[in-house]
């Protein structure tokens, strides 16, 4: 104490003087965590404007403005199209940016609303006077007092304590209250008893201590700054969109350059050709896609919010879908973060109690004759009580005054043997000895009619010391060695499950043995020769929904790893209870016990499961952690520090996994931040965790994560459909311009019309695709491999662009030529007509009938052509949205008009009269219809091919069973449509060998079993595949690079397609 006084220049009795405190406050700053550098709104808004697609649009807008400038410079005043286009592009970026910002802002607000805004008060002794000050004004060396119910206002070295217990769960993950006392018990200040940490709760007792750390210099502060030092990873969807932008930009520049050359060869002047080049590049930009993606994501975010998942960052919606590893915290995430009675031991039997949150589980057998006494002891030997006025509240949710174990027992008693208050009323308390750490037991004496009843509970070994007999079938027997053995066995068994075991015993005393007001210390003398009634074990029980959620994650190919700060035994027990360590899998320790070998002789590779503690982790060589993760599919990390949690997440990411981290404590926040997606708990979660997370589960329900995964996968699939749909019309929008340049026809489709399609009519159908239900059971497929299953891959682009898009363009041109011919301009005349057609001085241009047209009349006709082409695109897009509804199933199987959204979308956008600016004629709707039909039929044939030969397109890539049999490399125009084949998820080994046939619900030949496929992959992988059950770890197995591709599959499908087409 003296040392401390000197070190901090203070007095352990009087505290600091006011002046000194003020000076130190000046020096060290306020005792508060600097809020994580809240990104200013402007920066966040700026970030909304700087995504991959947004950059593409900015570039396009700049090009438009340049082209406009060039045209103005040439004196071409007529075409302000480029200006409009630039303005529209910028508008789209800004509007979607605002939209995204608004979404983000809303969820930030939800999160902010959690924050406790009441400033914290602290009781401090300064200059010998006790006063209440704002906790932020505490300085080093201040003498503070804390009592039960307070939040510890700073890091405190405890000088004096009376039964002080703190809840460190948010810091270390220990769910049990920790005693605080002045003695130093451990080297590490995290473990020692004489330091209470900032922001932890003092549950009971009182303590006085010196402030040894404030603000950022507290333990919590250091963790928080660790979290803010962790950079954010790019979300997978952002990576996908970047990849997509690469494709788009590549194609745009390729097309632009090609036609630049063509234009130069045809003889256009250089400047004109340059304008063409720019126009083509811009025409390739899918203006509507950004809006579509934003809307799709926010729709899903909304849907998730309805299921109590708040998403802070829109893109995180999808991230959960591609998650392949979930690192979950234990306390408060997998468990309920409260103690509850798990087991009872009476009459030599272990009985399981109901630990579900809502007491919906099965109650245990209460028929034993020993039960009445045990329940009486539980009821009476308990100082906890319900807070008044909670009669209507279910027992489990009632607030209790008392420590965690006692309230667990109180609730247990209330549920199993009726109102506790009444029972206590019947047996008034005469005297009691409260629990303390030296006795490790608690005694109370009650009046029970003619007799007095002495009840005692405590650590089993201490209780046993005071017993003379034991209860069996309601009768007392003297202690015997056999019973002792069975008791010890029970203690070990329950303790081995991570449960805290308490023994209960009682003794009937003659009346008046203990007078009221007997000093508590005297009771210890009386409490001998007792009768042992039974054991009760307590645990922080897993949440009821968790085991099923974990199972679902496994079915979905997601690996769940537990990372906790709690003790390994507890961690392992909970892991086993929730299925993170599955039934039948063993840790090396288990193997050692089974084979009766010392642990050193066991090859850890033999064990599926592994519990690694923080100290073991610290001793590992770099890279060994990855090796561990690779070898053991079921991992539990215990006693880990926040830094180690971070390390684990990083190791998983190095193995190529997309990692989700769930957690609630401050100690989780760095890992939450580092993870691809951090999921924090809304109720139990600390502010730091919520700050660091991307997603917040408002109901703290781990099962919501599964919903999130499902929605994330669905949105990925549906975004794929949406994008395929949106991309298709790019070609019919671009083709007119190309023909305009090369064949010199009057421009068939204008820029404003294109914008109208992109930004008005096509938004609804593409958004409607976001509402599509999953086609196959997506939760039975493996998570997508971010390196192979791209959002937009070359086959998808090729199919959209070079097949469907070309058909659409043809429809447009057919309708265009028909409309021109019917007005008097026959196709052959139209070819090469452009220079004269666009000559503003030419007022008497002859058509095919000899009529003469003024410039304005021709202009009007050109607008008609725009309309005609527009209608053609729309009609084809109706067919397109229908074919995109399903990826494999026939429309007839899926139901043509099953989804009202598609219908509404179609109706809204395609009903004539909606775009009043255009001139419509019914006949123009008829011309493109056969082409729409052609698209439908063509795609049905393609789907038929995919369904008939589900493996065909994908079997060509058999090099790695156990990974996604996606198609590598640029897959230019595989007509089979590999991009949307079930095979992309085929590689599901282990318990759910992926048979697309079953998911598809269509009879079709199943692909050969995976391990029968000849594979040139490294042998050890294959060895693992053949061992069922081990395969989950394959996710993290390195894949051989540059796999050999077999072109055979393309050939087959190509041939098939050919025969079907011709």
């Amino acid at each position: 104490v003296k040392e401390l006084e000197i070190k901090y220049g203070t007095s352990a009795t009087k505290g600091l003087s006011e002046a000194e405190a003020a000076a130190r406050l000046q020096r060290d700053g306020p005792n508060a965590l600097r809020p994580p550098r809240g990104t200013p709104g402007l920066v966040r808004f700026g970030r909304q404007l700087a995504g991959g697609l947004q950059c593409l649009m900015w570039v396009a807008a700049a090009i438009c403005l340049i082209a406009y400038g060039v045209q103005r410079g040439q004196g071409d005043r007529g075409s302000s199209d480029n200006l409009y286009l630039a303005v529209a592009l910028i508008a789209v970026v800004v509007v979607t940016g605002c939209f995204g910002y608004y979404q983000e802002f809303k969820s930030t607000n939800i999160i902010a609303s959690f924050r406790n805004l009441v400033p914290q008060q602290a009781t401090v002794v300064r200059a010998g006077q006790t006063l209440q000050v704002n906790a932020a004004e505490l300085v080093l060396g201040d003498l503070v007092e804390i009592k039960g119910g307070d939040r510890v206002p700073a890091d405190i070295r405890v000088l004096a304590a009376q039964g002080c217990k703190v809840d460190n769960s948010s810091l270390t993950g220990e769910s049990e209250p920790q005693t605080r006392s002045p003695e130093c018990t451990h080297e590490s200040h995290l473990e020692t008893r004489n330091i209470a940490f900032f922001s932890t709760m003092c549950l009971e007792g009182t303590a006085t201590g010196l402030v040894i750390g404030t603000g950022e210099r507290t333990v919590i502060g250091r963790i928080a700054s660790l979290a803010s030092g962790v950079g954010n990873e790019k979300t997978p969807i952002a990576v996908e969109i970047e990849h997509f932008v690469d494709i788009i930009a590549g194609l745009a520049v390729f097309f632009g350059a090609t036609f630049f050359l063509v234009a130069m060869l045809i003889g256009y002047p250089l400047l004109r050709a340059a304008v063409f080049f720019m126009a083509i590049v811009v025409a390739y930009v899918p203006e509507g896609l950004l809006a579509t993606v934003t809307v799709c994501l926010s729709l899903t975010a909304k849907r998730l919010a309805r299921r109590n998942c708040v998403v802070k960052n829109l893109e995180a919606v999808e991230t959960l879908g591609s998650t392949s590893v979930i690192c979950s915290d234990k306390t408060g995430t997998l468990t309920q973060n409260r103690m509850a009675v798990a087991h009872l031991w009476l009459d030599g039997q272990v009985l399981a109690a109901d630990t579900t949150e809502d007491q919906s589980g099965e109650a245990f057998e209460q028929r034993s004759a020993s039960w009445p006494l045990l329940s009486q002891v539980i009821t009476l030997c308990n100082r906890a009580q319900f807070q008044p006025g909670q009669e209507g509240v279910p027992v489990a949710q009632r607030d209790v005054i008392g420590d965690a174990s006692e309230s667990a027992l109180l609730k247990f008693a209330e549920v199993t043997s009726g109102p506790v208050a009444a029972a206590r009323g019947r047996f008034p308390k005469v005297a009691e000895l409260p629990f303390n750490s030296s006795n490790k037991f608690q005694v109370s004496v009650h009046e029970a009619g003619p007799q007095q009843l002495l009840v005692l509970k405590g650590a089993p070994e201490r209780v046993l010391e005071r017993c003379r007999g034991y209860l069996r079938e309601g009768e007392e027997h003297p202690l015997d060695p056999e019973w002792r053995r069975s008791l010890e066995g029970a203690c070990l068994e329950l303790g081995g499950r991570g449960e805290r075991v308490l023994g209960f015993c009682a003794r009937w005393l003659p009346p008046g043995s203990v007078a009221a007001g007997t000093p508590p210390e005297a009771l210890a003398e009386v409490a001998t020769g007792l009768c042992f009634a039974g054991l009760v074990s307590l645990i922080d029980p897993p949440r009821a929904t968790v085991p099923q959620a974990v199972r679902k994650c496994r079915t979905a190919g997601i690996r769940v790893i537990m990372v906790t700060g709690d003790h390994p035994v507890t961690a392992k027990a909970i892991a086993a209870a929730v299925g993170i360590i599955s039934e039948g899998s063993e840790t090396p320790e288990d193997v050692a016990t089974r084979l009766h070998l010392p642990l050193e002789q066991v090859d850890p590779r033999q064990a599926r499961a592994r519990v690694v503690t923080g100290s073991e982790l610290a001793a590992l060589a770099p890279g060994a952690l990855e090796e561990l993760l690779r070898t053991h599919p079921e991992m539990v990390f215990a006693r880990t520090s926040p830094q180690q949690k971070l390390l684990i997440v990083e190791s998983c990411q190095r193995l190529g996994a997309i990692v989700a981290v769930t957690g609630d404590g401050v100690n989780d926040s760095p890992a939450l931040k580092k993870a691809d997606i951090g999921v924090a708990m809304g109720i139990a979660g600390s502010d730091a965790a919520k700050q660091a997370a991307d997603m917040i589960l408002l109901d703290d329900n781990f099962a919501s994560i599964v919903t999130g995964v499902e929605q994330g996968r669905l949105i990925f699939d549906n975004l794929k459909k949406s994008i395929a749909y949106t991309l298709t019309k790019n070609i019919p929008e671009l083709a007119p311009y190309l023909v305009y340049i090369t064949a010199s026809v009057p421009l068939p489709l204008g820029c404003i019309t294109i914008l109208f399609i992109e930004l008005c009519t096509d938004i609804f159908p593409s958004v409607s695709l976001a509402y599509e239900r999953a086609e196959s059971d997506i939760m039975h497929l493996r998570p997508r491999d971010p390196r192979r299953d791209r959002l937009v891959n070359e086959p998808l682009a090729a199919y959209s662009y070079f097949q469907i898009g070309v058909i659409q363009s043809l429809a447009g041109f057919t309708d265009y030529f028909v409309a021109m011919a019917q007005e008097g301009w026959w196709p052959l005349l139209v070819l090469g007509l452009r220079p004269r057609w666009e000559d503003a001085h030419e007022q008497e241009l002859q058509d095919s009938y000899g009529q003469q047209w003024t410039f304005a009349q021709r202009r009007y006709q050109q607008y008609t052509c725009y309309t005609v082409f527009f209608i053609s695109i729309e009609v084809c897009q109706i067919a397109d949205v229908l074919i995109r509804k399903t990826r494999r199933l026939s429309l007839l199987q899926q139901g043509l008009f099953r989804y009202t959204w598609v219908c509404i979308g179609c109706f809204l956008c395609y009903c004539p009269g909606m775009p009043n600016v255009f001139n419509f004629m019914f006949q123009w709707w008829l011309v493109p219809m056969p082409f729409g039909l052609l698209i439908l039929v063509y795609d049905e044939i393609r789907k038929l091919g995919v369904r008939r030969h589900p493996g065909k397109t994908h079997l060509g890539t058999p090099w790695i069973p156990g990974t996604h049999l996606g198609t590598p490399g640029p897959h230019l125009g595989t007509p089979g449509g590999t991009w949307n084949s079930p095979g992309t998820h085929l590689g599901t080994p282990g318990p759910h060998l992926g048979t697309p046939g079953t998911h598809l619900g269509t009879p079709g030949p199943l692909p050969p079993p995976l391990d029968s496929i000849p594979s040139p992959h490294p042998p050890q992988i294959k060895a693992q595949v053949t061992r069922p059950g081990v395969c989950r770890c394959l996710l993290l197995v390195e894949r051989p690079k540059n796999p050999k591709r077999s072109p055979r599959n393309h050939q087959k499908v190509t041939k098939k397609r050919k025969t079907l087409n011709t």
């Binding site: 790019k234 057919t814 030529f817 001085h841 003469q852 006709q861 230019l972 050919k1058």
Partner: protein
């Protein structure tokens, strides 16, 4: 993927690209073997061949179904356009009376334009039609029977006919002629059976300037008289059946226009039921041009 990219050095990227371009080990070009490329090429050849065939077929069917004589729709041509001759750049008739080279091109153009209107040609090809009514020639039994055209003799244009030894349409004397013609539109019946004519006037920007402009422009002489266009020149039956159709023209002679001044002249087709005030089409039923006669 993006993450990996940053880690790779430039040389590796180049090597990867080269391997992507041509991988000698697997004999792959751009990630595919030759046969794979071939098949893809073949597929697209067949696919596009099919589509091209389909397109050609549609076009053929469309051309079969289109009437070769009368277009299906004429809703864009409700008001025929008007045009002048000489059709100078920007409709700007500017010349210097004393410098013949400034107006010789105009004269040449008018000569060329009026060539088919020569009386001899007209007499040989076309019929004399009864004046004052439409020259309707219904297809009685024979569809698309060739139609006869009515005569429009050059001599009707009087001093603007450009006949005689001088034949300079008044350009040499500072009294230039400008011809106004109406665009051909099939089955166009202007004027609702009442006579139609061309009216020309100075185009002022306000009422006062209008009068001043008119004064500066001086009197206009129109040929045929009053600028009348006879109804017998309508309707037009299309270039297939109405081969020798001669477009009626009206000549405007500026007999006393002030020299060295810009004159803005507008001519309109005055016919019952014909709108000539379309804001968007400055040439629908009207034409405006600039005239400047320079003298030294």
């Amino acid at each position: 993927m993006a993450r990996d990219k940053e880690k790779r050095s430039c040389g590796q990227v180049v090597a990867e690209w080269r391997a992507f371009l041509w991988d000698p080990r697997t004999r792959q070009f751009l990630g595919r073997t030759g046969s794979s490329w071939g098949l893809i090429l073949l597929f697209y050849l067949v696919f596009y061949g099919f589509l091209a065939g389909l397109f050609a077929l549609t076009m053929w069917v469309m051309l079969q179904s289109v009437d070769p004589h009368v277009p299906k729709y004429q809703d864009r041509l409700l008001t025929p356009g008007l045009m002048i001759r000489p059709c100078a750049e920007g409709l700007d008739v500017t010349f210097n009376v004393t410098q013949s080279h400034t107006w010789e091109q105009h004269v040449r153009a008018l000569h060329q334009f009026l060539e088919p209107y020569n009386d001899s040609v007209q007499a040989a090809r076309n019929a004399a039609c009864p004046a004052g009514r439409y020259n309707e020639q219904p297809d009685d039994a024979v569809p698309n029977y060739p139609k006869r055209a009515c005569r429009f003799e050059r001599s009707r244009l009087g001093p603007c006919a450009g006949l005689g030894p001088h034949g300079d349409y008044g350009y040499g004397s500072g009294r230039p002629c400008v011809l106004v013609k109406v665009n051909r539109v099939i089955n166009f019946f202007p004027g609702k059976n009442k006579s139609i004519n061309i009216v020309c006037a100075a185009k002022g920007h306000s009422a006062t300037t209008h009068e001043e402009d008119a004064a500066l422009l001086g009197p206009l002489n129109l040929f045929p008289p009053n600028g009348t266009i006879d109804l017998m020149y309508f309707p037009y039956y299309g270039k297939r059946v109405h081969v020798n159709y001669t477009q009626p023209v009206v000549a405007v002679q500026f007999s006393n226009a002030t020299a060295n001044v810009d004159h803005h002249v507008e001519c309109r087709l005055n016919a019952a039921g014909l709108r000539t005030d379309d804001e968007r089409d400055k040439f629908a039923g009207r034409v405006a041009f600039r005239l400047r006669i320079n003298r030294e």
